[in-house]
């Protein structure tokens, strides 16, 4: 019995001592996770800015971006304090918040561009064409009325 208890206990202690050390995040990993999260935020910002420029409603997306930015700031702070585990986790959380964000931003942009095209066709092209139509139509009606009733009016004047 004694033969295996001592090696077992020693192994267990070694595992308990080394496993957390092996799983711990070093500064390089934390730093690269932060750089990656930072780049993701910048890419997402550019995508959402394009969607906003196209006229899309991006308020909900901006609030997600805001949360991701706050997590990144906290990750930076943790890195400065030497808490690499927290820095890494916060950077990963920040990046995870933006999963699928660019695709969503592109779809908002496409929808906004389509809606903008329809709006342009109705409100600009339609309205301009309608105005020209009203003016030309009015002239046409006036000339038609003039031709049809103008002579009658003239004759009536003559008869009187």
């Amino acid at each position: 019995m004694k033969g295996w208890v001592v090696p077992f206990c020693v192994s267990l202690l070694l595992i308990l001592f080394f496993v957390p050390t092996c799983l711990a995040v070093d500064e390089g990993q934390a730093r690269s996770a932060i750089v990656e999260a930072n780049q993701t935020i910048k890419d997402c910002y550019l995508a959402v800015a394009a969607a906003d420029k196209a006229g899309g409603n991006v308020s909900g997306m901006l609030s997600v971006l805001q949360d991701a930015g706050m997590l990144l700031s906290k990750a930076d702070l943790a890195l400065g304090k030497g808490d690499f585990d927290s820095a890494y986790n916060l950077a990963v959380q920040s990046k995870a918040k933006l999963d699928g964000f660019i695709v969503e931003a592109h779809s908002v942009k496409d929808a906004a561009e389509h809606s903008g095209y329809v709006d342009f066709m109705i409100n600009i092209v339609g309205s301009s064409a309608g105005t020209v139509g009203v003016v030309v139509g009015s002239f046409a009606v006036w000339f038609w009325l003039n031709r049809r009733y103008g002579k009658v009016g003239h004759v009536e004047q003559d008869e009187s």
């Binding site: 935020i41 910048k42 910002y45 550019l46 959402v48 800015a49 906003d52 420029k53 991006v58 308020s59 901006l62 971006l65 805001q66 930015g69 706050m70 990144l72 700031s73 906290k74 930076d76 702070l77 400065g80 304090k81 109705i122 409100n123 600009i124 339609g126 309205s127 301009s128 309608g130 105005t131 139509g133 009203v134 003016v135 009015s138 006036w142 009325l145 003039n146 009733y149 103008g150 009658v152 009016g153 009536e156 004047q157």
Partner: protein, 204 residues
């Protein structure tokens, strides 16, 4: 029937109908163009007014102010507010001259706050803060330990401020500098604007 009697009426009706049909175009064409593009930054006191700003600071006491940004630049912007702290002798951001020539404080940023703001929109954040510091034994200087800002503990190791006998204060200056993300340079650049709070770090 004499049509010439109706000529003016016909022209007026045509003009009214044409204006009505043209109103969508006119509403876009006859808009006075924006000529000024800028960002705003403000700091309001605890009652959300430009008054009651904290000045005499007590150790461990919580203070609240409101930090705001307004975007009038014509497009969605990625702002970063750098939170910095300094004493009287350390570098402050410049306040004079053309805004593009102004420089930020050379002090390191203690914390960065991101703000994404669309055109003609405002962003505001309540900022709750407290200082942990001690006064040296000879009472000649205040030695800072940390600043707690919205529950984040920001280290102020190495920060201290000496007694100013003329102004009778232990001067402290909390600064919020506005930076923007420049997509072409793919980097943050100082936007020439900052707001700050000046404190007297009291000994109680």
């Amino acid at each position: 029937m004499n049509l010439s009697e109706y000529k003016v009426f016909f022209i007026v009706v045509t003009a009214v109908v044409a204006l009505f049909v043209a109103s969508p175009v006119l509403s876009r064409v006859l808009v006075y163009p924006r000529t000024e593009f800028f960002s705003e930054m403000w700091l309001l006191g605890p009652n959300h007014k430009a008054e009651g700003y904290p000045y005499n600071i007590s150790r461990g006491q919580n203070y609240t102010v409101f930090l705001g940004i307004g975007n009038q630049l014509g497009y969605c912007l990625y702002y970063v507010v750098e939170v910095k702290f300094r004493n009287e002798t350390q570098s402050a951001p410049t306040s004079f001259g053309p805004i593009e020539n102004r420089t930020p404080s050379s002090m390191p940023s203690l914390f960065n706050i991101s703000a994404f703001v669309t055109d003609e929109q405002d962003w505001e954040l309540p900022m709750s803060f407290s200082f942990d510091y001690e006064v040296s034994l000879d009472r000649s200087q205040v030695i800072f330990h940390n600043l707690t800002l919205n529950d984040e503990i920001l280290g102020l190791d190495g920060y201290s401020t000496a007694w100013n006998g003329t102004r009778t204060v232990f001067f402290g200056n909390l600064m919020f500098e506005l930076w923007i993300y420049d997509a072409q340079a793919t980097a943050l650049s100082y936007h020439g604007r900052f707001v700050d709070l000046k404190f007297n770090m009291t000994t109680y």
